[in-house]
């Protein structure tokens, strides 16, 4: 690569828009200069250098690293993960866990157990791709191998996305601006098209439709959840998704899970909800901080799930009628 110090500023900024953004962050105006970068830096007043908080050689090195980093982001393919292996460690009392669980792309695993039993701890172990270096001593293998440190610590290309229960939106943007911002950071080819797709998909997941022009901070809990699930399914690079409960609040949980697994994601859900707990192919039972059991969902359980779902549909329908100001006066038929 040629030395960037010798490149004219206009050529450099044309080829690498990130450099122009960097200058504007520093409050420097380099827009039309034809000077070579090195010459331009040399002619800056010392006072300007003090103001921006970087020496000339630090700026030069920073710009070089910035160009490399952006090139890197463009080249790195999104992570593909075929399987995740969870190898047990020990529970709170130090008793070894015997579990060894292999989860393949497109599978959903649920995590059940009393509040405080250690479900979040297990999610945390998966999130950081633990290598026996967390208090539980558990290990996570990716495609049968320990993940290489570069992947483990890659910040914005993380293998694991986590949808936590107590999240808020901090930015005040419309839904469209918000998803488009994410799409630009993900460097997708057609951000507008992907944005429309995510919003349409979120609207399919929630009973309460919302417009792209509404502010994200005005969304209800269910709408928020639906939007985040659609985003993680269609826009996030992470092949592994951790979900800390999907509330009952107006999210079609079955479709949400189908959406995630059709993208070949590996999904872990910590839940108290019977409809979710039985929807996974397997469920991990947590007790006293340890993996007490791993249960495969049986044929009878699947049949029971169907019945539970029709009950749930009945409840939802009543909820909807109440919302519309109607009475529920007929004798209810709980046909079990």
């Amino acid at each position: 690569m040629s030395n960037i110090a010798d490149l004219p500023l206009d050529v450099l900024q044309d080829a690498h828009p990130c450099v122009g953004e960097f200058f504007s962050t520093l409050g420097l105006d380099a827009a039309d200069s034809r000077l070579a970068l090195g010459e331009w830096l040399a002619q800056l007043a010392d006072e300007d250098i003090l103001d921006v908080g970087m020496e000339r050689d630090q700026m030069l090195a920073h710009i070089q690293r910035l160009i490399n980093e952006v090139a890197n982001m463009n080249q790195t393919a999104d992570g593909v993960v075929r399987s995740l292996t969870l190898i047990g460690g020990r529970d709170k009392a130090g008793t070894p866990e015997t579990a060894r669980l292999v989860v393949r792309a497109g599978e959903v695993v649920c995590i059940v157990g009393p509040t405080g039993s250690g479900k979040s701890r297990l999610l945390a172990d998966i999130e950081c791709l633990a290598q026996g270096d967390t208090p539980t001593g558990r290990r996570i293998l990716i495609d049968g191998q320990p993940p290489d440190p570069e992947r483990r610590y890659a910040l914005d290309r993380k293998l694991v996305a986590q949808l936590s229960q107590n999240m808020n939106f901090v930015v005040d943007l419309t839904v469209r601006e918000f998803i488009a911002m994410h799409a630009r950071c993900r460097l997708v080819a057609d951000p507008d098209a992907v944005t429309d797709q995510v919003i349409a998909c979120a609207n399919e997941l929630t009973g309460e439709k919302f417009a792209p022009e509404v502010s994200v901070t005005q969304l209800s809990g269910g709408q928020t959840r639906a939007l985040m699930i659609a985003d993680v399914a269609l826009l996030s690079a992470a092949p592994i998704v951790l979900i800390d409960e999907i509330e009952n609040a107006g999210v079609d949980r079955r479709r949400a899970l189908e959406l995630l697994v059709t993208g070949s994601k590996i999904v872990f859900i910590s839940t108290h909800d019977p409809l979710l707990a039985l929807r996974g192919a397997q469920r991990i039972v947590i007790r006293n901080g340890g993996i007490a059991d791993i249960l495969a969902t049986s044929a009878q359980e699947r049949r029971n799930l169907n019945r539970l779902e029709s009950l749930d549909a009945l409840l939802l329908e009543i909820r909807e009628r109440l919302r519309r100001g109607l009475r529920i006066e007929e004798e209810l038929q709980w046909s079990l």
Binding site: V70, A161, C185
Partner: protein
């Protein structure tokens, strides 16, 4: 002894992150101490003491906290040596976003807060841009989208640096942080070391006690704003 400088704006969670790291290092049998710098007052020393982490406190009072830090960091290093620590953290707040207490050759952490908004990484000066490791806190209370966008902006603000999410309450991410700390060089003495970048210039009349407003009172290192409507022909 490994010296680790930790800097970040007030209330981002520096103390919580350091506490979680201290617990981890202590479990591994290492001797850990903290030198806590603050402006007016602090009660964080009690938090450290509760965890059995030896702590020394420096209050800058009427001085610029970051200038005060540089004037005292060598003495903190010597204190740490006398106590026989394996790891000494210094904790200081970069109050003006322009300060950078990072020392060349000493492992430097900048703590930023995901709650501060996705554009914050662009606004923090050398404290973030020249750090070796960026620790992002409060990631669990913002959306997954904001987490990814924030991380992207951190990466552009300090390309090439390691960055990670760490939850100061639950400790999620601390194992990653500790793994990074292992690579910190040992610092035997600070004499002759240099800051990575000069602190903001000072010594205007207000630095030395002037309280009157008005141009006749402003001598020395004074900088005035530009107003577009007053600029003559361009």
């Amino acid at each position: 002894m490994q010296l680790i400088t930790v800097a970040g704006s007030p209330s981002v969670g520096k103390t919580s992150v350091i506490l979680r790291a201290c617990e981890w290092l202590q479990r591994e049998g290492l001797r850990v101490g903290v030198a806590k710098f603050d402006a007016l007052s602090t009660s964080d020393d009690q938090l450290y003491a509760q965890k059995g982490v030896p702590v020394t406190v420096g209050l800058a009072g009427a001085l610029c906290p970051d200038h005060y830090f540089v004037s005292n960091v060598e003495d903190c290093q010597a204190w740490g040596q006398r106590q026989g620590f394996d790891v000494l953290f210094t904790e200081s707040a970069g109050l003006c976003n322009r300060c950078s207490p990072h020392v060349a050759g000493v492992f430097a952490i900048c703590v930023v807060d995901a709650l501060a908004g996705v554009h914050t990484p662009k606004k923090i000066g050398p404290m973030l841009r020249l750090a070796d490791l960026v620790v992002i806190t409060k990631g669990d209370i913002v959306s997954q989208v904001e987490r990814e966008v924030f991380a992207y902006h951190v990466r552009l603000a300090n390309p090439g640096a390691r960055a990670l999410f760490c939850n100061g309450i639950t400790g999620q991410g601390v194992s990653d942080l500790v793994a990074q700390l292992r690579q910190a060089p040992a610092t035997t003495a600070l004499e002759g070391h240099r800051l990575r970048f000069p602190m903001p210039a000072a010594v205007c009349p207000y630095c030395v006690g002037e309280t009157a407003i008005g141009v006749t009172h402003q001598r020395g290192n004074v900088k005035k704003m530009h107003f577009v409507d007053q600029e003559q022909g361009s």
